[in-house]
């Protein structure tokens, strides 16, 4: 897959210390807690984490579709424009136009009583001065581009007349309607059949390369983002716990949670004895979260320090992680992109963070 590797000077998207706090009846839920990252134009970021890790809340905050009980703080700059605190009227000109999103479930994310055509043209008509007739022509072109046969006929149909894969192609076409600079795919293939998943991911990759868009690929599955991203950020309990270039992450994963996630991915190319190992326990309750490492209760390497003290973010040559007991060098010789289940690693107390920085600091 061809990918634009040039890192531009001004990042396309620059997120600094973003917080999304939900005011629930039980208390404040820190769905996103001090998240920072950047995406260059034409680059792809994989955002990985279990359900409830805050990845959906994060991208929804970027899209301005957080629930009304959400309070958003921090900074989100899109090519220099600050989105947090921007009046809704001005922000609307960006959403759906410069940032667009493909949702998880194509069965529910298309309006069942509105024709495909109008669902495609309405954002063009909202954001550009395109005429109704031209918008319809463009809609058919878009459907053709995302690989829908008989696009002219399909445009006149309702969503229920299309298969799941077709519908997801339609939602992609919808997202592309205004040529966005940044495309967010929120678990865009999770609800689809495995064979269709691959087609959709390939389509996203092609289009991204074609148009030089930035892209955020959100998934709970490391396997999905492995070959298709430049960088991967791993989220846990509302924070980014590890963030590294994709190859580097797979070769030298440092955070214990990343390790556990990798071990949980089923693989065909490893011996049967290396069965996928699910992560024990469940993600923590984000309302009552204490001060230590959020992963400590489920971590095989955790000690008293982990439950007491929040790990600072370490940074090594663009590889950031926040762990008191990072995975040591014994896994470093693995082939990139072929991470099998790790050996049962003994806790490495000696391998403390090499270089520490604060969580808020954004490495260049």
């Amino acid at each position: 897959m061809e990918r634009n590797k040039d890192a531009p000077d001004v990042p396309l998207l620059d997120v600094r210390d973003l917080n999304v706090h939900l005011h629930t009846p039980r208390g404040v839920l820190k769905a996103v807690d001090g998240v920072s990252f950047r995406i260059g134009a034409g680059r792809t970021l994989g955002l990985v984490g279990e359900s409830g890790s805050g990845k959906s809340m994060l991208v929804r905050a970027l899209m301005g579709i957080s629930p009304p009980i959400a309070e958003i703080a921090g900074s989100v700059r899109l090519g220099g424009t600050e989105l947090v605190g921007l009046p809704r009227g001005q922000a609307r000109a960006i959403w759906g136009n410069r940032i667009a999103m493909v949702f998880q479930d194509p069965m529910t994310s298309l309006n069942p009583v509105v024709r495909i055509e109008r669902q495609l043209t309405e954002s063009m008509r909202e954001h550009t001065a395109i005429s109704r007739a031209d918008a319809k022509i463009r809609a058919v072109d878009l459907l053709e581009r995302v690989g829908i046969p008989e696009p002219r006929k399909r445009a006149r149909q309702y969503p229920h007349q299309l298969s799941g894969g077709m519908r997801q192609r339609v939602t992609i076409a919808m997202a592309l309607a205004c040529d966005p600079d940044l495309l967010i795919a929120d678990e865009a293939t999770t609800a689809l059949d495995v064979t269709v998943q691959r087609q959709i991911l390939d389509l996203l990759g092609e289009i991204q390369a074609d148009r030089g868009m930035g892209m955020i690929l959100v998934s709970h599955d490391l396997g999905v983002v492995a070959g298709r991203t430049d960088e991967i950020a791993v989220m846990y309990a509302g924070r980014i716990v590890e963030h590294a270039p994709t190859d580097d992450l797979f070769a030298h994963r440092r955070h214990r949670y990343t390790e556990a996630l990798l071990a949980a991915v089923p693989r065909l190319d490893v011996p049967r004895s290396h069965r996928p190992r699910p992560i024990p326990g469940t993600p923590p309750d984000l309302v009552t979260l204490g001060g230590g490492c959020a992963f400590a209760p489920r971590c095989t390497a955790a000690d008293t320090r982990c439950t007491a003290e929040h790990p600072a973010t370490a940074s090594e040559e663009g590889h950031r992680y926040a762990c008191h007991h990072p995975v040591g060098d014994e896994t470093a010789d693995r082939e990139p992109d072929a991470a099998g289940p790790p050996d049962t690693a003994a806790p490495h107390d000696s391998a403390g963070p090499a270089a520490t920085s604060t969580a808020e600091e954004v490495p260049a």
Binding site: T24, R26, G52, I65, P67
Partner: protein, 304 residues
């Protein structure tokens, strides 16, 4: 009202994004504190109850002019005729109090009959299904096919000079299909639950299942509906009397009072709007209480 608001807000929480784990669930079942509207409704119905009980103790008779017999005395001008007098000089206060008795009869009797007949038929239909249900459904549909006021008008036609009890009987017929449908729907839902299936499997007799298992679990819903139906019945009697085909004049009825005074609306609005206001407040209070009961029993339903 605030109940409605909560529902909306919780909805958003769930709709929202990452579906925060169990975030909203905890609060949903909490009982709503009784608001001022609820207390107002209870107080008003208390006043009506007092009127019903003590109507005879009022100084004036409902069917004879008071002392000096001055007609169309406006409300809030004299004592003890605080609500004024009507077109022949009868005490409005006494007639309102006596009319409250009429309203109680025309609302309570039909509801009791409706629950008894409709409830029983509903239970039977739910238990036996099949042909029994089809027949009762068709009868219920036929009754519901008449706009309710028309059915009452037919009744007024055949009974010439209806008294309170005739009207109550007619209203009872009207209320049966509603209670029937509600009981049936509820009981069918209940009968799919395990405890009924178990009872049936253990060979319990139909009567036992209906009255010991199905009925107790339907009572709450029936009760909240009954309160709303009482309000509807009061309005129906009022409407009929307003048309002049309800309870005839010397007998007191709020709707009848409005009917007799409606031609004097411009000159003596008080005489029209006092019974109107009393009827409105009573219906409103019943609705408030019915809404609250319904919300409460719905909650229980949803987390069963």
């Amino acid at each position: 009202m605030s109940l409605v608001g909560t529902e909306g807000r919780l909805g958003h929480t769930e709709a929202g994004a990452g579906r925060p784990p169990e975030a909203a669930a905890g609060n949903r079942r909490g009982k709503k504190p009784a608001g001022p509207l609820w207390w107002f409704a209870c107080t008003w119905l208390g006043i009506i109850a007092l009127m019903v009980v003590f109507a005879d103790l009022l100084p004036a008779d409902y069917d004879r002019p008071v002392g000096d017999g001055e007609s169309h005395l406006p409300p809030f001008q004299a004592w003890p005729e605080i609500l004024g007098t009507d077109f022949v000089g009868r005490s409005t206060l006494t007639r309102i109090a006596a009319g409250a008795r009429t309203s109680v009869i025309v609302s309570v009797v039909p509801v009791v009959c409706g629950i008894a007949v409709g409830g029983l038929l509903g239970l039977c239909a739910a238990y036996f299904r099949g042909a029994v249900e089809t027949v009762t459904d068709i009868v219920a549909d036929a009754l519901l096919a008449f706009p309710p006021l028309l059915l009452l008008l037919m009744l007024a036609t055949v009974s010439r000079h209806p008294g309170v009890w005739t009207i109550a009987a007619g209203l009872a017929v009207l209320s049966v299909p509603g209670f029937y449908r509600l009981t049936k729907a509820n009981a069918i839902a209940q009968s799919k639950r395990e405890y009924v299936v178990v009872a049936r499997a253990m060979g319990a007799r139909p009567g036992r299942i209906m009255f010991k298992e199905l009925l107790p679990n339907t009572v709450g819903t029936l009760l909240s509906y009954a309160v709303v139906v009482m309000a509807l019945m009061i309005v129906a009697e009022g409407s009929l009397s307003f048309l002049g085909v309800g309870i005839p004049d010397p007998e007191p009825s709020w709707g009848g009072m409005v009917f007799k005074e409606k031609d004097h609306l411009e000159d003596h609005p008080g005489q029209v709007f006092v019974p109107c206001g009393v009827l409105f407040l009573t219906v409103f209070s019943l609705n408030v209480i019915g809404d609250r009961l319904r919300a409460r029993f719905d909650v229980r339903e949803s987390h069963l």
